[in-house]
Symmetry: C2
Subunit: 170 residues, 2 copies
């Protein structure tokens, strides 16, 4: 069964999902952050079927998230490393991790904590902030058309503004 | 084709993906943040097939992300709203949006911007911070076993620490 492609939807979330929104993809990226580089390291850490891993690694290389290089003379030993674009996914992973810690942990608590290497202290929760640095609640922000908005996005954003207005009054 | 379930993997990212990691799910949540509440509003905004939308809404209600209530006397008109657990997904969505803005926008720029309602100013990029508030780079943090870590996670975290050590020296 083929999925609909979201790449043509004018939304950065949809475009992000187009590249990394597959079940295994985020977990492969997680392992790359944890230091895995070789095929066997990903395979062992994730318990993933080799053919699935091959496909997903290829997709991540094609999407520019991972960079592959050969680390042996004969070119057979491959090493996969995060590109700068891949490293930029870290806030997404951390936000997911923190949501899971809060809402999907067992009674015993989170299985993994992310700590500052220097101090051993847990990192702060990811929060949305204003340009001034002040933390913002969802209700304090709104979406507006950006420079890349086409007609459909402009229309939808106008609808959203109207919907919000009418519901605030209600 | 059935996918492997990640729910039993001791990882909050995997558990998050188990609940919201489907192609349409994040986009339905996005629309809920934009103010959609009725079936027809989601359907029209997303161009999603009604049977797929029905399934995904049911899954989001089951996962506690959306709360459904009937808004008519006969109980036929349903309204879907984000629960507090669902609203907590906002940092994940914003992190995805910002990644897509940076790495998957067309030459004309992002289609949608998130702005502070009060000032109209764009929100700040989501960054990982230390407990002290200082911004942290990926290289400045490390994963360690949390209170809910089982034997497998402890072993893996020890491997990760070792891998990082040896690669830092190399």
């Amino acid at each position: 069964m083929r999925r609909t492609s979201f790449a043509d939807m004018s939304c950065s979330i949809a475009r992000t999902l187009e590249i990394v929104g597959e079940w295994w993809t985020f977990l492969i990226v997680r392992e790359a952050f944890f230091g895995s580089r070789k095929f066997g390291e990903f395979e062992r850490a994730l318990g993933i079927a080799p053919n699935v891993l091959t496909q997903r690694l290829a997709k991540l290389v094609e999407g520019g998230i991972l960079v592959v290089e050969s680390t042996s003379q004969n070119g057979k030993a491959l090493s996969y490393r995060l590109s700068p674009k891949g490293r930029d996914l870290f806030p997404v992973l951390v936000a997911m991790l923190q949501w899971g810690d809060k809402h999907a942990s067992g009674p015993e608590g989170p299985p993994v904590r992310i700590v500052e290497r220097r101090t051993g202290q847990a990192i702060a929760p990811m929060v949305m902030r204003a340009a001034s640095g002040e933390a913002l609640d969802v209700s304090e922000v709104m979406p507006v058309p950006g420079p890349g908005a086409g007609e459909a996005v402009r229309r939808r954003m106008a609808e959203v503004a109207e919907l919000t207005q009418s519901r605030r009054k209600a």
